[in-house]
């Protein structure tokens, strides 16, 4: 059952990668990469349970935070053209 869930999530990751490559605007790409990060967290957790070693959950926990910060940083970089405040 874990293998089925992991296969379904990996198949759906292919779809959102197609959207991230094909997206007409930059916001489509950012949205697709954000969804891709969420699915990465889920597939890390499911594969940890599949192999019987759920120690990868720490990596998943860090990946949630990095995904959120990365999305906001990409949006800010696209809007202002820089990340810090170089006054």
């Amino acid at each position: 059952m874990f293998a089925f869930a992991a296969a379904a999530i990996i198949l759906s990751m292919v779809f959102s990668l197609i959207r991230a490559f094909y997206g007409p605007t930059v916001f489509d790409r950012i949205l697709a990469v954000n969804v891709q990060g969420t699915k990465t967290v889920l597939v890390i957790a499911v594969i940890g349970f599949l192999t019987g070693r759920p120690d990868f959950l720490d990596i998943a926990l860090v990946y949630v935070l990095i995904n959120f910060i990365g999305t906001l940083a990409a949006l800010k970089l696209f809007k202002y053209g820089r990340l810090g405040d170089d006054s």
């Binding site: 089925f4 779809f15 959207r19 889920l42 349970f49 926990l61 949006l75 696209f78």
Partner: protein, 119 residues
């Protein structure tokens, strides 16, 4: 009792897989950016909740459960916030929401440019 918990967690995992697959197909086939935020939000909240809920039922009462609950809370906080921020930035940058083409023809408000008509 173990069988009941197994069936319940398998149901949750199958439901989450279904939601994630249909959400990804919707992310491919929706006609516009603002309509694509809807399946993205579905994947971020409902699919993640079902998958992590199924894993919580499999893990029992250990340290793993605490980590899974923490992942669930963080996904619930950050996922809709990121989707809202992307949609707000798209709206602020002047992206127009999609309209159905024959509604544009019935209304004569001069908004006659149906972009991405083929999808």
């Amino acid at each position: 009792m173990i069988l009941v918990i197994d069936i319940l967690s398998w149901t949750l995992l199958a439901g989450g897989s279904f939601i994630i697959l249909t959400g990804s197909i919707g992310l491919l086939r929706m006609p516009d950016f603002f309509t694509r935020t809807h399946p993205a939000g579905m994947i971020d909240t409902l699919g993640a909740t079902l998958i992590v809920g199924g894993l919580i039922l499999q893990s029992g009462f250990t340290q793993v459960t605490i980590k899974l609950v923490l992942i669930l809370i963080l996904l619930f906080l950050t996922g809709p916030t990121a989707t809202h921020a992307v949609a707000q930035a798209a709206l602020a940058s002047g992206l127009k929401p999609w309209r159905r083409p024959h509604e544009d023809q019935s209304q004569t408000d001069g908004n006659h440019a149906p972009h991405e008509e083929d999808r």
